[in-house]
């Protein structure tokens, strides 16, 4: 993907040999400093895991290492938040499917058509990402109330897609624009319509960008708190983010259960970062600047 600039050949060109040889040893020093920075930055995440393995109780007196790990917190978390975790999973997967289905065809067309209207459309998409979520929640609450979409999974999928669709359109469009037109034209000469060419040629070639966009759509939806908070009024449909918020209340009575739920809710982010590192890095740069 374009977002990994390490491959730029100009930067690999060795400059003065003496300089680079001298630089070898301090570079390991850099690694050490880098690990130190990372340790400081990731300490809260370590602490979350550590606190989740402490015996339950309303205090936080935790040791620095969970030498005697206690899984009571996880037992409580799964007991009380298991359903909410499943709800979050269903909503997030729904958001991925819905966002890709709506955004991918538009992303392709927005890259093909040459018209000043396209710029207006892109501008609208850029601006839509800046609209505060509370504005959307305010209006959707009233509309959902009339339509009976409050406390429903489809309602939350549609709302969560606001986090994802503008991002997916921009990132997938940027990729699809780089597909050489000749490949698509070759199929068109053979008699395939735009729709056929899109499904059988464009989509398979764009696999990487679709995966990247899908992973982010999942994370955005999984992390959503605002719509979970405002568009549900009962416990019927409760994403895990709202579950954590209700745990927090004014007084936290069982920290290990809260932290265990926090750890379970972090699993998608951690797994994706470890397994799909290149996609995440690509999305992080591509989506933010464009």
């Amino acid at each position: 993907m374009t977002a990994t600039p390490t491959t730029a050949p100009a930067r690999l060109r060795p400059s003065v040999t003496a300089r680079s040889r001298r630089a070898d040893r301090p570079k390991l020093g850099h690694t050490a400093v880098g690990i130190l920075f990372l340790a400081v930055m990731l300490f809260p995440i370590y602490w979350m895991i550590n606190a989740s393995l402490q015996p339950s109780g309303n205090t936080l007196t935790a040791d620095f290492l969970p030498l005697k790990p206690d899984f009571g917190g996880y037992q409580k978390a799964i007991e009380q938040q298991g359903t909410n975790l499943v709800t979050s999973l269903v909503i997030s997967l729904g958001t991925v499917v819905f966002s890709l289905a709506v955004a991918a065809p538009a992303a392709y067309m927005l890259g093909q058509i040459r018209s000043s209207w396209i710029n207006v459309g892109l501008l609208a998409i850029l601006i839509s990402q800046m609209i505060p979520g509370i504005v959307i929640a305010n209006a959707l609450y009233a509309a959902y109330n009339d339509l009976g979409l409050l406390n429903s999974i489809p309602g939350l999928i549609l709302a969560d897609a606001t986090h994802a669709i503008p991002f997916v359109i921009l990132i997938v469009r940027a990729f699809m624009m780089k597909i050489p037109p000749s490949i698509v034209e070759a199929a068109r000469v053979d008699g395939a319509g735009i729709a056929r060419a899109f499904v059988s040629i464009v989509l398979p070639i764009s696999r990487n960008s679709l995966i990247t966009a899908g992973l982010f759509a999942f994370l955005f939806s999984w992390s959503d708190f605002l719509f979970a908070l405002t568009l549900t009024t009962t416990e019927d449909v409760r994403p895990v983010t709202l579950g954590i918020y209700t745990y927090l209340g004014t007084q936290v009575s069982n920290w290990s259960a809260v932290m265990a739920t926090a750890v379970l809710s972090s699993i998608p982010a951690i797994v994706l970062l470890v397994l799909a590192q290149k996609y995440i890095a690509a999305g992080a740069t591509g989506g933010a600047v464009k």
């Binding site: 390490t6 730029a8 930067r11 400059s15 570079k27 390991l28 850099h30 690694t31 400093v33 880098g34 990372l38 930055m41 990731l42 809260p44 995440i45 936080l60 007196t61 709506v102 065809p105 538009a106 058509i113 710029n119 459309g121 892109l122 501008l123 609208a124 850029l126 839509s128 800046m130 609209i131 505060p132 509370i134 504005v135 305010n138 209006a139 959707l140 609450y141 009233a142 709302a159 897609a161 606001t162 669709i165 503008p166 899109f198 994370l219 992390s223 708190f225 605002l226 908070l229 405002t230 954590i244 745990y247 927090l248 936290v252 926090a262 972090s266 982010a269 951690i270 970062l273 600047v289």
Partner: protein, 301 residues
Amino acid sequence: MPGARRRRGGRERLVQVLFLAPAGLYLVLFFGYPVVKNVLMSMQAYTTRTFFTGEAPWVGLANYATALGSTLFAPAMLNTALFTIGSIVGQFAIGLALASFFRRKFPLSGFLRSMLLLPWLLPLIVSSATWRSILDQDSGVLNAFLRSLGIIQEPVPWLTSPSVALLAVVLVTIWVGIPFNVTILYGGLQEIPEELYEAGAVDGATGWKAFWHITWPNLRPVVSVVLVLGVVYTLKVLDIILGLTNGGPANATQTLAVRSYQESFVNFQFGVGAAFSNILILISLVFAVIYLRLNRRAVDE
């Protein structure tokens, strides 16, 4: 033949419309409609009663008068400004330092840099819960750490004292925002040709001199984008504040976004809530226009 081509052209147009229509419809319904609806709601007496009777009488600018006249308006404006500026300055300074550091390629640098993204990928409410445990006055690890170093004698009531709560919320927001800043600034630094530094070194520009005369001028466009986007994203932050302090203690962390949420969904005064969120939109709009001007070239390409 020309007829066939025209027929094919007509079908193409239809296909184009079909490709664009779902996304267009979605954007209109889930972004356009809410913005318009908020403007209308802000001029109506829109309360819980509206949901039973279906009536929301027009009240003109009364909701704005209520919002601007409330005792919480001035503090919320001030907090929004302090929260946004504090978070952005902190994120940017640390982000730029880390991005410059990672620019020197060293073993594991790519791996460490991508692991740095983790705080940004976690659900904000998870980060809030974690920091709440860390910042706890009596048993939190931060106070324990600072006391063991002798920096503080008494535990700091990070989230329960009105005088430090906003600072604590800013610190957490900085932590969340660092990865975004590092990623974008690192990308910007990569674009600066190595030759400039080599030429600068010949003229004696190394270290800080190289930074001020080569790095900073070349990085300026990326810096503007990062800062403006950061402001737009930070203005609307809700999860972190609700998770850490809920706007308290004693309203010390009330921002415009929190006000809008609480008026609508705690007090059920949707009209007043909409008025607050429209003020928020106006402020965001100023920065959005700045952003679009900076970014126009990127869009046109």
